[in-house]
C-alpha cells in the first residue's frame, strides 16, 4: 500500500529541495538581522540624515511586493546591470540574488520589530548610560539594543517564520528550492492534493520548531524589571 501511494516520489530530490530552502532561510536571516539592526540603529540615531535614510528605506521596501524585489534582482541587477555577486554559474548567481533580495526585504521588518523593542527600554537606562560617559554607539550597543533584542525575540520569530515561507518566492527566478520542485511535481504527477500536503508538511516541519524554540528563548532571556 505504502509503496503504491508514494511511488510517484521516486526520482524527485525532496530533501535536496528543502535543503536549498533551509540555506536560503539561514543566509537571509543572518543578513537581515545584521542589516535590520543597522537600520534600527540609524532610525534611533541623533543624526537627521541617518534617521531619514532609515525611515525612507523601511517605508519604501516594506511596501513593495517581495516578488517584485526578487524579480528585480534578476532582471534589473543581473541581466541589466551585470551584478553577479562574484558567482559565474546561473545556479549560484540566482541563489545569491535571491538571498540579496530576501535580505533587502526582510531587514525592513527586522528593523521595525527591533524599533518597537527599543521603545520598551525605559529612557532611564540610556540616561544612566550617558551619565557614566558612554558614547552614543556604546549606549546603543551595550545597553539599549541588548535589552531591545530580548524583548522582541517573539516578534523576530514571526519575521523568521514569514521569511522561511517567503523563500518560495525565489522560485520566480529559478532557484531550485522547495516551491520550484513542487511546481515541477504538480506538472508531472496526478497527485495534486498529496503533493501540496507533503510540501505544506515540509514547511511546518521547518517553522513549527523555530517558533517553539524561539518562544522558549524569549522567556529565557526576558529582562526582569
Amino acid at each position: 500500500m505504502r509503496e503504491i501511494v508514494f511511488d510517484f516520489l521516486e526520482g524527485y530530490d525532496l530533501l535536496g529541495a528543502f535543503w536549498v530552502t533551509v540555506q536560503l532561510t539561514v543566509y537571509s536571516a543572518v543578513g537581515s538581522l545584521i542589516w535590520g539592526t543597522l537600520l534600527a540603529a540609524m532610525r534611533a540615531s541623533p543624526v537627521p540624515l541617518m534617521r531619514g535614510f532609515g525611515a525612507g528605506y523601511v517605508n519604501v521596501v516594506r511596501n513593495i511586493p517581495l516578488t517584485v524585489i526578487i524579480v528585480f534582482t534578476s532582471l534589473g541587477l543581473f541581466q541589466t546591470l551585470g551584478v553577479s555577486l562574484g558567482a559565474d554559474d546561473f545556479k549560484t548567481i540566482n541563489f545569491r540574488l535571491a538571498v540579496l533580495g530576501m535580505i533587502a526585504y526582510t531587514s525592513a521588518f527586522v528593523c521595525e520589530a527591533l524599533r518597537s523593542g527599543i521603545n520598551t527600554v525605559p529612557v532611564g537606562q540610556s540616561e544612566a548610560a550617558r551619565a557614566i560617559g558612554l558614547s552614543f554607539p556604546q549606549v546603543l550597543s551595550l545597553i539599549v539594543l541588548p535589552q531591545a533584542f530580548r524583548s522582541v525575540v517573539g516578534p523576530l520569530a514571526n519575521v523568521l517564520i514569514a521569511l522561511t515561507k517567503n523563500t518560495t518566492v525565489a522560485a520566480a527566478i529559478g532557484v531550485a528550492e522547495a516551491a520550484t520542485l513542487m511546481r515541477e511535481m504538480i506538472e508531472n504527477e496526478a497527485q495534486l492534493i498529496l503533493i501540496s500536503a507533503i510540501f505544506a508538511l515540509g514547511f511546518i516541519c521547518l517553522t513549527l520548531p523555530t517558533g517553539l524554540l524561539l518562544g522558549w528563548v524569549s522567556k529565557k532571556v526576558a529582562v526582569r524589571r
Partner: protein
C-alpha cells in the same frame, strides 16, 4: 552630624575652588519657564542640598549640570570647562560627573557587578581584573557585597540605589549629582541610602543633592538652596534656613513640611 560641618557660606563665582558654575541659566519646557536666570557656584568639597516644592525646577537644575537636559541660555562650566555640545567631549565630561537617579536606572540586563564595572572598562579603559577589584571594593563600601552576582530586579530598592551610587563612584567623579535619590524608596530603606551619602559627604565628595530629606539637609549640607517656580529663592546655611528662613516662600514651605 557630619564631620565636615565647616560651613563655607556662599563662595563667590570665579574663585579657584569653584567646581560647578552656573551663570544666567534659563530653560523652558514649552511655555513653562522651569529655570529662570539661575546663578549658582558649587565649590570643591561642598555639599549643596537643593530643596523646594514639586515643579520648582530642582530636578531640571540637577539634570542640566551634566546636560541630560540642554539649557536654552546661560553657561554651565565644570572644573573651568564649559559644557560641550553632544558628542565625544560631552561623554568625557559626563564620566567626571556622577549621577544617581530617583529610579536607580541600573542596567537591567547586567549583574550588579557588571553594572559597576562597565563604565570603568568602556570609558576609563581599565582592564577587567582591575575594574572588578574596584567594583567589589565599592560594593563593599556601600554594603551590598553579597549581591554582586544578582540582577538589579532581584535587589530591594535601597540595595539598588546603593549599587547605583557605587556605579557612579566607580568613575572617580569630581562631583556627584543626586536627583531625589530616596524618593522612590520604601521608608525603611531610606536611611541605608542616606548613610552611604553621609559617608560620602564626610569623605569630602562634592555633592549636589536634590531631596526632600530635611534631616539629611540639616546634617550633611554645607549650603541649602531653596528653589520655587524656577528660581533660587534662598541660598544659605542649613541652620539659618531651617531656624530662620528669610523669604516668605521658604517659611510657607517649611511650615507645611516640618510640623507633623
Amino acid at each position: 552630624m557630619s564631620g565636615v560641618a565647616v560651613t563655607k557660606g556662599n563662595p563667590t563665582p570665579g574663585t579657584n575652588d569653584a567646581l560647578v558654575v552656573l551663570k544666567g541659566v534659563n530653560k523652558h519646557f514649552g511655555a513653562l519657564h522651569v529655570l529662570q536666570d539661575i546663578n549658582l557656584t558649587i565649590s570643591r568639597g561642598e555639599v549643596v542640598v537643593v530643596i523646594g516644592p514639586s515643579g520648582s525646577g530642582k530636578s531640571t537644575l540637577c539634570r542640566a549640570i551634566n546636560r541630560l537636559e540642554a539649557i536654552d541660555s546661560g553657561e554651565i562650566a565644570i572644573d573651568g570647562r564649559p559644557l560641550p555640545a553632544e558628542g565625544r567631549e560631552l561623554a568625557a565630561l559626563r564620566a567626571d560627573v556622577g549621577m544617581v537617579f530617583q529610579s536607580f536606572n541600573l542596567f537591567a540586563h547586567m549583574t550588579v557587578l557588571r553594572n559597576v564595572m562597565l563604565g570603568q572598562i568602556k570609558v576609563r579603559k581599565k582592564d577587567k581584573k582591575e575594574a572588578e577589584e574596584r567594583a567589589r571594593s565599592l560594593l563593599e563600601r556601600v554594603g551590598v557585597t553579597t549581591q554582586a552576582d544578582k540582577y538589579p530586579a532581584q535587589l530591594s530598592g535601597g540595595q539598588q540605589q546603593r549599587v547605583a551610587i557605587a556605579r557612579a563612584l566607580a568613575m572617580e567623579p569630581k562631583v556627584m549629582l543626586f536627583d531625589e535619590p530616596t524618593s522612590a524608596l520604601d521608608p525603611e530603606m531610606i536611611n541605608e541610602v542616606l548613610e552611604v551619602m553621609q559617608q560620602l559627604a564626610r569623605d569630602g565628595m562634592t555633592m549636589v543633592v536634590v531631596t526632600h530629606e530635611m534631616g539629611f539637609a540639616r546634617s550633611a549640607a554645607n549650603r541649602v538652596v531653596f528653589m520655587a517656580d524656577g528660581r533660587i529663592v534662598e541660598e544659605t546655611t542649613p541652620d539659618q534656613f531651617f531656624t530662620n528662613p528669610r523669604s516668605d516662600r521658604a517659611k510657607d514651605f517649611l511650615s507645611k513640611i516640618l510640623h507633623h
